[in-house]
Amino acid sequence: MTDPDLAALWVTLKLATVTTIVLLVLGTPLAWWLAHTRNRLRPLAEALTALPLVLPPTVLGFYLLITLGANGPVGQLLNALGAQPLAFTFAGLVVGSVIYSLPFVVQPLRDAFAAVGHGPLEAAASLGAGPWDRFFTVAVPLARRGFVTAITLGFAHTVGEFGVVLMIGGNIPGETQVLSIAIYDHVEVLEYGRAHLLSGGLLLFSLILLTVVYATNRRSRVVGS
């Protein structure tokens, strides 16, 4: 692996990790709300969370670019606040990836929360557990399978993410060039050997990681405390 490839690997892992964390932080309350609200607008909100999927990533990236770029509304707002625009920065990548991978995190979590139902939460409340307490000690462990799915899909999708990142990241080595773009570039310039190497490495790494995750997940999560 050459230096730029290593840099791309690093950016990719960092991006996927940060994106997954941000997705969990944003997606968990959203999924919880979707699972429990009786608001009439719930179907609309659910549809909105799925919407980033239907646009091709490059196109989504294009709109994000227009929005976040120096001349876009968000860009100008940030500018007025004295902040840097988000386009072509790592933070911009995170924003783009989060939007694009949101459905993969929110939907499994929402299903998992809905499947937990009210029973265990009521039991926890009667034992003195407040809303946060029962969320973290009852709802989250019981929705464990949904979290594993959400994290897997969110992380893997960000690793393989391409169009959005290419568009709003600008493919800047060491900063916004991720592995998927590096592989893509190798393919573009007919460096198939390097492309195979990177792809193979990525697949193997992911396979091992995912297998370990699923194998661990399989083991009983029942705990004594």
């Binding site: 265990p120 926890a124 009667s126 034992l127 003195g128 557990a129 462990p141 009983s220 705990v223 004594g224």
Partner: protein, 353 residues
């Protein structure tokens, strides 16, 4: 910490509309047919439903006007009809869940665990427990949550009779010691007799009658009188054990009565249930009989049981109390039983367990 409640909750096809006023300690059993709203009432008390109305414990409002104290701040210990153990925690984890939030020491676990006979199950997952095991763990968990109000929804329905015999005296003792109201749902009169101080009869979401157990059981106008196991529940005073015979002599309705066992401490109050079916009547005092307790009394009321037309329920005033006796119409006619008549009520001591 008396409990005052006036609650109503509408559901499609069902309306709960119940008023309750419970003293600050003692057990109230809610009794009523399936679907009459017992579970719903308990859920309202626990804060798991949002009924209209008011609810206060010990003068502190839990619910009034716009105010609603959420379930987790009420410190009710609830045993749900379906157990509701946390499936992701072991039995021990379930108990600890309650203890941590109640600020209990780890050692507090030992007594309820031993009593419920769940020592062997501590490391087990709830989904590997039998029906009765689930209920026993659920009871232990509720007890460990240090509640201010204990709600038991058919806690022992799936527990076998022998285990129940072990658990009931404990619950009995516990509920007498704890200065908290206990509301208990059961279909088993055994449990009622052992545990209940007061009885609330529900039907179709409404409280049909409520009152002290003694009073409720001596009333012939309630659905209770239709039950096969109807009987009078009396207070026994000044128990005096008869060592060697495992019997206890006590004063019931101004008369000496022999009761089985000698657990009672002098000066303690006991409750005796004398089932109508266990009481036979004679006109002359019997002799050379195994029946130890023969109480002279006077008939005050004879009613026909509507659902069992061949039988009569006879109320006999003994001292200041009343016994019920359930006799066949044939006997009633042969002995010409009628109000005002003097009779001897015979009760086997062993029947008073």
């Amino acid at each position: 910490m008396s409990l005052e409640a006036r609650l109503s909750l509408r559901r499609p096809g069902f309306l709960l509309d119940a008023a309750l006023s419970l003293p600050e300690r003692g057990v109230t059993t809610v009794f009523g047919p399936s679907g009459s709203g017992k579970t719903t009432l308990l859920r309202c008390l626990a804060g798991l439903e949002r009924p209209a109305g008011e609810l206060a414990l010990g003068g502190e409002y839990w619910q009034r006007d716009g105010y609603f104290l959420p379930a987790h701040r009420r410190r009710v210990g609830m045993v749900f009809q379906d157990g509701r153990l946390f499936p992701h925690l072991t039995v021990r984890g379930n108990l600890r869940f309650a203890m941590r939030r109640a600020g209990c020491e780890e050692a507090a676990m030992d007594a309820p665990v031993a009593l419920m006979g769940i020592e062997r199950l501590l490391a087990r997952r709830p989904d590997t427990l039998s029906g009765g095991e689930v209920q026993r763990v659920a009871v232990a968990r509720a007890l460990l949550s240090q509640p201010r109000l204990l709600l038991l929804d058919e806690p022992l329905a799936a527990v076998d009779a022998r285990r129940k015999q072990e658990i009931l005296p404990f619950l009995e003792r516990l509920t007498r010691e704890l200065a908290l109201p206990v509301v208990h749902v059961s279909h088993s009169l055994d449990e009622v007799i052992r545990l209940a101080d007061r009885l609330v009869l529900m039907d179709e979401g409404r409280v049909v009658a409520s009152g002290g157990v003694t009073e409720m059981f001596s009333r012939l106008d309630l659905p209770l009188a239709q039950r096969e196991d109807v009987g009078a529940v009396l207070e026994a005073h000044a128990p005096r054990p008869l060592p060697g015979y495992h019997l206890t002599e006590a004063t019931v309705a101004g008369q000496k009565l022999l009761l089985p066992g000698e657990s009672a401490e002098p000066g303690e109050r006991l409750r005796v249930r004398i089932r109508a079916r266990d009481v036979s009547l004679t006109l002359k005092p019997p002799s050379e009989t195994s029946i130890l307790n023969v109480l002279p009394g006077r008939i005050t009321e004879v009613v026909e049981r509507p659902d069992a037309p061949g039988q009569r329920l006879v109320r006999v005033a003994v001292g200041d109390a009343a016994l019920l006796s359930w006799v066949s119409r044939l006997s009633a006619e042969r002995l010409a039983l009628a109000p005002g008549q003097a009779v001897y009520a015979q009760v086997k001591a062993v029947a008073l367990a």
